[in-house]
């Protein structure tokens, strides 16, 4: 709230919409990103909530205008109102609920059919904290924390422990689907904060900023040459070269 109105000229506005089944944690993902907070037992969103957050990326400041939509089925028909002009979408599912991925897939399909063709879509598998061995359950080997971390981070290897049995969507399956559908993919936990900043930073990286700037600036501002230069730079993939640099976190 306090963000609105400050330094409007230098920041690029990016409209972002969150979609996904009810109770997968859309509002919690946003709350973590915007306020770095987490609330257990949040009330369901009604209609849609509007939030803003700035995100610094190299020399650019992005101002996310976020539409956090209600997941209940009766609000489905309203979704086009929110994604129509969106430059980015985060489709959220719950890693402990297989049906929520199916719902996410149908949102992705709808977005790819009906939203802005340049829309950047990210798939987020939320509640990943529920399928990780928690600090308390691995309390017996507390002196080897680093080892434990390394073990869970081993790619492709399912971490041991009962908590993993809650998982209904294997990471690899979601990753494969995301790659095939051309989506960014993250597993996140709004509760611990894992993956949240990465998610929004990665979207920021992929947003064709020059394109947005060119379209909002209008024809009058820059000459045709400058405009073309901007577009070609965007087509060349501004963001590819930045991949090797260390990540700039969003300055929340």
């Amino acid at each position: 709230m306090a963000e609105s109105g400050s330094v409007p000229d230098k920041s690029v506005q990016v409209k972002l919409v969150l979609l996904g089944e009810a109770a997968v944690g859309k509002s919690s993902v946003v709350l973590r990103f915007v306020s770095n907070e987490f609330q257990a037992n949040k009330e369901p969103t009604i209609g849609a909530a509007f939030l803003t957050q700035k995100c610094r990326l190299e020399d650019r400041v992005l101002r996310y205008e976020i539409w956090d939509t209600a997941g209940q089925e009766r609000f489905h028909s309203l979704a086009p109102m929110y994604y129509r002009n969106a430059q980015a979408a985060v489709v959220v599912y719950d890693v402990t609920k297989a049906t929520s991925l199916e719902k996410a897939k149908s949102w992705v399909k709808e977005l790819q059919r009906q939203a802005n063709p340049n829309i950047v879509i990210a798939l987020a598998g939320n509640k990943v904290d529920l399928v990780q061995p928690s600090a308390s359950s691995s309390g017996n080997n507390s002196e080897s924390e680093d080892e434990a971390d390394d073990a869970t981070a081993t790619p492709g290897e399912a971490p041991s422990g009962e908590s993993e049995s809650l998982r209904q969507v294997p990471r690899e399956e979601a990753q494969a689907y995301a790659t095939e559908a051309g989506l960014l993919f993250f597993e996140t936990s709004a509760k611990t904060g894992e993956g949240i900043v990465d998610l929004f930073t990665e979207i920021a990286r992929k947003i064709p900023i020059e394109h947005i700037l060119a379209s909002t600036r209008g024809a009058g501002r820059a000459g045709p040459g400058a405009n073309r230069a901007g577009v070609s730079r965007q087509e060349g993939g501004v963001n590819l070269e930045q991949g090797a640099k260390p990540k700039d976190a969003c300055n929340c």
């Binding site: 915007v34 907070e37 209609g47 509007f50």
Partner: protein
């Protein structure tokens, strides 16, 4: 379902009516009809999923809300100049299309209400809005604004309008937002339900779907209210307690409480509940009396003729309901007063309200 203890059948039907309206605000009458025409055994809970809290808070309101009980609007008591300053800021420019109503709410009461010339607003729709705005889903949301489809059943039971809701101030006593500790908010959300009507909210009802236009207009209005000091004037009024009054301000011997409804303006005013109505049991009793009197003077108690005035005395208090052309009034007094003194007190209340009218009621709010 916990229906209040009033036990009066007329009251029960009015409670059910409000619950029905609240449901309509979520699914519209035509949707509801279509569903039940197709499947008479449809489980409505599927459609109301996630909105249970709206019905719960409506039930809580129904028990004690005197504005709902008298089907009228309850304004915030305010210096008319401050109210006018707020109102002048809220008149939409002709550029902003589709705006239906603009309402500023503080402490669960209407500060001002701007409407088009050709549309008035039904008090029931205001009560539905009030219940919606203060719902924890919206009130506790960290969002800068909420944009929700809502059916205002008295305006149009078959269609949705969009409500832009933005809290300008939340004045929560225990400001939980500053504490980022991840475990605490659970308790704070239940605490804020009890004082759910705090905060100052700007509500803009639009017939259109153009959120961005509404938002930038509302942002501008909010900035203007802040920059010109109007919002501070308003919150100073609220904080200093001027928005409330007690019966002692009237200086009428033996008077304990009253409810005055201006019939022409469909607005109600009443003092805060204090001794001997501070605790819930006594408050319930007096509200039940008001309800009984209300039904009697509106011929809703099964009698063949309407009463103009009804007087009841018990060992705890005397109460009287009185209906005239300009007003209806319910007063509670000490049981030791003779009936003549009760009538005298009622006249004194009506004179006081007349004198205070400018602050108590919303008058001459701009239309567009």
């Amino acid at each position: 379902m916990h229906v209040s203890l009033l036990g009066v059948s007329q009251n029960l039907s009015s409670q059910l009516e409000f619950l029905h309206l609240q449901i309509l605000s979520i699914v519209t009458a035509s949707q509801l009809r279509r569903i039940f025409e197709r499947r008479t055994n449809f489980d409505l809970r599927r459609l109301l999923d996630g909105t249970e809290t709206f019905l719960h808070s409506m039930l809580d309101r129904l028990e004690f809300d005197l504005a709902m009980a008298t089907s009228s609007l309850h304004c915030l008591r305010l210096d008319p100049m401050v109210r006018k300053r707020v109102a002048d800021t809220l008149v939409p420019t002709s550029k902003v299309k589709d705006i239906l109503y603009v309402i500023l709410i503080a402490r669960g009461r209407v500060v001002t209400l701007i409407r088009p010339k050709k549309h008035s607003i039904h008090p029931a729709d205001i009560h539905i809005l009030m219940n919606t705005v203060h719902n924890p889903s919206i009130f506790n949301s960290p969002a800068a604004a909420s944009w929700i489809p809502i059916c205002l059943p008295k305006f149009n039971p078959n269609g949705f309008v969009n409500a832009y809701i933005s809290f300008l101030q939340r004045d929560n006593p225990e400001e939980p937002s500053s504490a980022p500790s991840p475990s605490s908010p659970q308790s704070s959300s239940s605490a804020s339900v009890t004082d759910s009507d705090s905060g100052t909210a700007l509500v803009c009802i639009s017939g259109g779907a153009d959120f961005d236009t509404i938002r930038s207009w509302c942002d501008g209005v909010t900035q203007k209210l802040t920059n010109e000091g109007t919002l501070k004037l308003l919150s100073d009024c609220v904080r200093s307690g001027q928005a409330e009054y007690t019966v002692s301000e009237l200086g009428i011997p033996g008077l304990r409480h009253f409810v005055y409804k201006s019939r022409a303006q469909v607005q109600v005013t009443f003092p805060t509940f204090e001794d001997p109505y501070e605790n819930l049991t006594d408050r319930r009793r007096i509200i039940t009396f008001y309800q009984v009197l209300h039904d009697a003077i509106h011929a809703k108690s099964g009698q063949s003729e309407t009463l103009k005035l009804q007087y009841i005395r018990t060992e705890k208090e005397s109460v009287m309901g009185w209906i005239t052309q300009p007003f209806e009034m319910y007063i509670a007094l000490s049981p030791r007063l003779p009936k003549s003194a009760v009538v005298g007190a009622a006249n004194a209340v009506s004179r006081w309200v007349k004198k205070e009218e400018g602050r108590l009621f919303l008058k001459d709010a701009p239309v567009f």
